[in-house]
């Protein structure tokens, strides 16, 4: 099993990334602020307009380190990619499967079924742990409805039907999302899921976490030799990492949603850490972003037993493991793709 390496986050706006031998350097005002050997890293994420030298980009490509650029608010802008890696036969299978409606729908059903069950598990967890703090009846009803959806998914004949059920499940889930909040309830209420731009604090937080998860999923798919842009559920669109978005579906509830809720419930972030612009856009300030990144990194190191492989791995490797399982399924080594179910 691969080791979970570290990700370097650059949040200093005037930073410049350079390279010296095998080291990644971060310079500001012509002074070296940080230096780390590249073999300790698997990704570099830059927020804001951090510059990078071409030689550093070269080093990152050569060593398979994912270098991504995000705006200060976490919107994905671009990434540096090296050689198309892996096996051309594997990628051809991926493209054929993506074009084949039956296979694409079959895989889409798997992603979405896992997503629905995982979001159900998130709701179930709060009902079990804090029965006194929630509206038990409505939550129980939602959980039951969600539990019935994978069965309906089995009948979905095309992508639109799958997306329809997914939308229904997401609406149901997000209308009960506020129940998960045990403190700072008023400040982090979510009306519905919205983005581009997010119009409340919870949406801003979720969007940011989803962007981080996308970065990890793209890197995971690249590293097993799959094309992150050709998906099954998400349609092709220039620049969109459709397959990464597909495998993210099952990871969202456990990785991002629960982390967002934990941050709020433990008062690790507060309403004051968000800036509300004139047009209603809600954005995080620098300190909040740092708090979220720190929590994210910590969460990635927590160990869980993978439900399918039954071995103990850090949470941060789950996107990689899922990508690997998908690749094995495409190669014919596995009979079916086992999505990630959080127990």
């Amino acid at each position: 099993m691969r080791r979970l390496l570290n990700t370097l986050y650059v949040t200093m706006p005037d930073a410049y990334l350079a390279c010296d031998g095998e080291n990644v350097l971060i310079k500001a005002q012509d002074e070296i602020k940080f230096r780390i050997p590249v073999h300790n890293l698997e990704g570099i994420v830059c927020f804001g307009f951090a510059g990078a030298s071409p030689k550093l980009m070269y080093l990152c490509c050569e060593r398979g380190v994912a270098l991504s650029f995000l705006t200060g608010y976490g919107k994905f802008m671009g990434r540096v990619t090296g050689n198309v890696s892996g096996n051309v036969l594997l990628r051809r299978t991926q493209y054929r499967w993506s074009d084949d409606n039956n296979t694409a729908v079959r895989l889409s059903r798997r992603f979405i079924a896992a997503k629905i069950m995982n979001s159900r598990a998130v709701l179930h967890r709060v009902l079990r742990d804090h029965p006194e703090a929630v509206d038990q009846d409505s939550l129980r009803r939602a959980i039951q409805l969600l539990a019935g959806m994978p069965k309906r998914l089995e009948q979905a004949k095309d992508g639109d039907a799958v997306r329809g059920i997914e939308g229904e499940a997401a609406r149901l889930y997000f209308t009960h999302f506020n129940e998960l909040l045990l403190s700072q309830k008023d400040d982090f209420q979510i009306a519905d899921r919205n983005r581009r731009p997010p119009t409340d604090r919870m949406n801003a937080l979720l969007s940011f976490l989803y962007t981080l998860l996308t970065h990890e999923s793209v890197a995971a798919l690249e590293s097993v030799g799959l094309d992150p842009q050709v998906g099954f559920l998400h349609r092709d669109r220039p620049g969109r990492p459709s397959l990464a978005l597909d495998i993210m579906e099952e990871l969202r509830p456990h990785f991002a949603d629960r982390l967002a809720v934990t941050l709020v419930n433990r008062n690790q972030i507060s309403a004051k850490g968000f800036v509300i612009k004139e047009n209603g856009t809600v954005l995080m300030d620098d300190d909040t972003r740092k708090a979220v990144l720190t929590a994210w990194q910590k969460r990635k190191q927590e160990e869980i037993v993978h439900p399918y492989l039954e071995i103990k791995i850090p949470l941060g490797l789950i996107p990689y493991v899922q990508a690997m399982l998908l690749a094995r399924y495409m190669r014919g080594d596995l009979e079916d793709y086992p999505p990630f179910f959080w127990k």
Partner: protein, 96 residues
């Protein structure tokens, strides 16, 4: 695993000074300089073998020496720092 590498290179000759620079440069490439000739390197066994080979082909065993201390994976329990220049934890949160 974490490996602590320390070296002593004889610098009374010009060749010695050159060896010292080369040794230091290799160490910088693989780890973090925690004190002048002390490096903490987080390496997998392959990387360690690579570094070991490089260092040992630079130094002159008659006058110089290298020491490797293997701190394993639980190295954080085995290291304590006091004073200036704390350094960073390569497995911890890396944010600049």
């Amino acid at each position: 695993m974490m490996v602590l590498i320390t070296y002593d290179v004889n610098v009374t000759t010009d060749a010695g000074k050159s060896r010292l620079r080369k040794v230091a440069k290799q160490c910088v490439n693989y780890g973090q300089r925690v004190q002048n000739s002390v490096f903490e390197c987080l390496l997998d066994p392959t990387k360690f073998a690579e570094l070991k080979f490089r260092l040992e082909s630079i130094i002159d065993p008659k006058t110089d020496s290298l020491r490797y201390y293997f701190l394993g994976n639980n190295w954080k329990n085995r290291v304590e720092h006091f004073g200036a220049k704390t350094g960073y934890d390569p497995e911890g949160m890396l944010m600049v």
